[in-house]
């Protein structure tokens, strides 16, 4: 994806020394996280491995087979060696495929931990080979998709990202087509709100959801087929996005890869802060999930914008910038290249603030200059939208202006009915028409504009960056986990020994191995 050039010099007259100090502190924080989560895996990471080995389906009680398989080994105390070890051994001992093994376990015909054990080297080799075949298969599909994207043409940045959320995947298809028709570049189906707290991924197509539609592999496939068909008919490629968040981050990354999704929201902090998911669980899941996204060329979106929904946008600005630095380093630690890291930012300053537009412009430009190679995902005003949809539409116009003038990579479009209900079919079209009008009318504005030295915009950006530096250096002293406990982000505090999903963390034993991580790690350093 191309993003507009941020320019050789800083329009904001930022001090390169301060930027370097921020990166340095963020690197230190990310390294501390890596150390903290090393030696652990989670039930969902292991389920992701089974999915990459081809395990799919559900039992008669609708329990997904990846859960059945991982729980089976976990109950027998064997998960510390990794699910791949047990599946690999069973493949050797029984000659069956991972899917057949899962079905046999589900039927109660096979006890993975009761089988004779083959030599460790042989197990590794067998299961790594299986995993490699799968990875090559998915990579092949991604190559085809890349070719399709190039053939049909990818829109220039900012890509227009639009949310749909009807609860019924077949209705979502109708809404997604209307979005495509009106010029949307990325369609994201919001998940049913309860899904982030499920420690499994539901199976099959779904037609009922609350506040969104369940992310299932079948739903992904239905959306992908519909959008591919539309793209071919209309000669313009429409991307799809979902959410690697909640308790199944790495599994959803695998499912999205399988079904050819192009983008994924991927930010553990969101689940930690707003869904009370345990910090360590979230960070382990995120590490592997981002690695899978990164490997297949999927663009990840981070969620800094959310902090501004619960904290004041002006006061919290340094925490957003600081979080971008940290998230950037955490994504790199997972092997995601800059071009695939869409850091979050939002236009959330309250409407009555005098010169609010100037502060927004400063913040948006700051993000672009700090991360020139990252696409950045810019979010519309939501928090102060009060149900007066005409006012919201006007606020979105200014948001669109800042988006185009600062060359953001991905823009979540604003809709007039923000804060009232999940948008109706025409609300999104009205939002997109506003975007088109402004993007076209101000296409090259960013190239024309310089900021007054020492003026409001430069001063604000420099102040935010200085605040971020102070915050990052403080967090580097205490560590990210303690910073979260101290309500640094979004005014929300979470404790390391508390939260949902904590029971799904597993300490790895000698001989643990994860073929997915090993193969992807090899590739990213090859």
């Amino acid at each position: 994806m191309s993003t507009s050039t941020p320019g050789a010099h800083s329009k904001l007259d930022l001090d390169p020394g301060v930027i370097a100090a921020c990166r340095q502190a963020a690197k230190q924080i990310a390294d501390q996280v890596s150390e903290r989560i090393a030696g652990h895996t989670t039930v969902s990471v292991e389920r992701g491995v089974t999915r990459l080995l081809g395990v799919d389906g559900a039992d008669a009680l609708e329990a997904p087979l990846p859960n059945v398989l991982v729980d089976h080994v976990h109950d027998r105390g064997g998960l510390g060696r990794g699910i791949a070890y047990w599946v690999g051994n069973a493949m050797i001992q029984t000659g069956r495929t991972p899917q057949q093994i899962a079905e046999a376990v589900s039927a109660g015909e096979l006890d993975l931990c009761g089988l004779e054990l083959a030599a460790e080297e042989a197990i590794r080799e067998r299961v790594t080979e299986e995993c490699g075949t799968r990875l090559r298969e998915i990579s092949g599909r991604f190559e085809e998709r890349r070719a399709m994207r190039e053939r049909l043409g990818d829109a220039p940045a900012p890509l227009r990202y639009v949310l749909t959320a009807t609860g019924d995947v077949y209705e979502d298809v109708v809404h997604a087509k209307a979005v495509a028709e009106a010029g949307g570049d990325i369609v994201a189906v919001i998940r049913s709100t309860a899904q982030s707290l499920l420690d499994y991924v539901p199976y099959g197509p779904t037609t009922e959801g609350y506040g969104g539609t369940f992310a299932t592999q079948a739903n992904f496939r239905i959306m992908r087929e519909a959008m591919d068909e539309w793209s071919e008919q209309h000669g313009r490629y429409v991307r799809l996005s979902s959410f690697c968040s909640g308790l199944c981050m790495s599994e959803i990354a695998v499912m999205g890869a399988w079904e050819g999704f192009d983008n994924m929201v991927n930010d553990a902090l969101y689940g930690i802060l707003y869904r009370d998911i345990n910090i360590v669980r979230g960070l382990i899941d995120q590490r592997i999930s981002r690695m899978i996204n990164g490997y297949f060329g999927v663009v990840i979106n981070t969620g800094e914008d959310n902090y501004l929904r619960t904290a004041d946008a002006l006061e919290a600005a340094p925490s957003v910038t600081a979080s971008q630095f940290i998230n950037h380093q955490l994504a790199r630690a997972s092997g995601v290249p800059d071009a695939q890291i869409a850091l979050g930012d939002a236009f959330e300053i309250d409407i009555p603030v005098t010169n609010g537009l100037l502060y927004e412009w400063a913040q948006a430009q700051l993000t672009r200059e700090l991360f020139p190679d990252c696409p950045v995902k810019y979010m519309p005003p939501t928090r102060h939208m009060d149900g007066n949809l005409f006012r919201t539409h006007a606020a979105d116009t200014l948001f669109n202006l800042v988006t185009i003038a600062t060359g953001q990579g991905v823009q979540t479009i604003g809709v007039p009915t923000e804060g009232i209900f999940t948008p109706h079919i025409h609300d999104r079209v009205l939002g997109l028409q506003n975007v088109d009008y402004v993007f076209n009318a101000a296409r090259d504005l960013g190239e024309e504009v310089e900021f007054k030295p020492g003026g409001i915009i430069q001063t604000h950006a420099q102040r935010v960056l200085a605040g971020a530096q102070e915050l990052l250096e403080r967090i580097a002293q205490t560590g990210l986990l303690q910073a979260i406990e101290g309500a640094t982000f979004g005014d929300v505090s979470r404790r390391v020994d508390d939260g949902r999903g904590i029971e799904g963390i597993v300490t790895t034993e000698d001989g643990y191995f994860n073929p997915v991580v090993e193969l992807m790690h090899e590739a990213s350093y090859a």
């Binding site: 109708v174 028709e181 609350y210 079919i425 025409h426």
Partner: protein, 252 residues
């Protein structure tokens, strides 16, 4: 000399008295065509609009057409019959609330609030309860006379009620910000039923709020009050202290 407005037969006002003009927009699941336009006009007529006009219509996607329309409302309401039904509340300021509570209640008023069900948005309940409040108005946490518990978003009704019982709450506040279809109605109804099943309905004030909530809907669902957009914490606090004072007075 301007003529008096006839408050017994009120209709919408746009340009001049009695024009009844209403703006409306909607989508019909029909292909974009002249027939679609005809269908919209006919439908507006059935809705009770005289001389409906389509000022804009366009295709959203194949088989779906969007309309912007105007029409003159043929109906009127008698405003005089609605005045004095308790809709015109005079709100107290923060200071007035504090002294009113001290005088008439004489102890901390315990309030438990949450955004319930699948709603992930805490913005409404935060604005009402948290110290920071909204647009420079303190939330109830900042009042000396209130003791508040904000349970956040996606809280099951059962958890909200259990907390209210645990802290012996005077009032339960439910926020419903962004919900799908009519989920907020189901959600709000469920809580009332649970409070009643626990036999606590009489001792607790139940209030709900959100962009799709109104005083009328709240009453219909069995709440004591409902608050919509534009509500500030002191509006809510005024209601609670007055209601509680009335209850205290009636039991002593």
């Amino acid at each position: 000399m301007p003529r008096e407005i006839d408050l017994t037969a009120v209709k919408p006002y746009a340009d001049h008295r009695g024009d009844g003009l209403v703006q409306l927009s909607f989508t019909l699941p029909v292909p974009y065509s002249l027939a679609a336009r005809k269908a919209a006009l006919e439908l507006a007529g059935k809705m009770g609009f005289d001389e409906p006009e389509v000022v804009h219509y366009e295709q959203l996607t194949e088989g779906y057409t969007y309309f912007v329309m105007y029409g003159a409302c043929a109906h009127t309401v008698d405003f005089t019959a609605l005045e004095g039904e308790g809709f015109n509340i005079e709100y107290m300021t923060e200071d007035e609330i504090e002294s009113f509570a001290a005088e008439h209640v004489g102890r901390k008023i315990v309030v438990v609030g949450a955004s319930t069900g699948s709603d992930t948005h805490s913005v409404g309940i935060d604005a009402m309860l948290n110290l920071k409040g909204y647009h420079g108005h303190h939330g109830l946490e900042g009042y000396r006379s209130f003791e508040t518990y904000n349970l956040g978003s996606q809280v099951p009704n059962s958890v909200l009620l259990a907390k209210a019982i645990e802290v012996d709450a005077d009032a339960i506040l439910v926020s419903q910000t962004v919900t799908q279809q009519n989920l907020h109605v189901q959600n709000l109804t469920e809580l009332v039923e649970m409070v009643e099943a626990e036999g606590r309905r009489r001792e607790m004030i139940l209030a709900c709020g959100g962009p799709r909530v109104s005083g009328e809907l709240a009453k219909e669902l069995g709440y004591d009050a409902g608050f919509s957009k534009g509500t500030y914490p002191h509006h809510l606090a005024t209601f609670i202290v007055r209601e509680l004072a009335a209850r205290v007075a009636s039991t002593t």
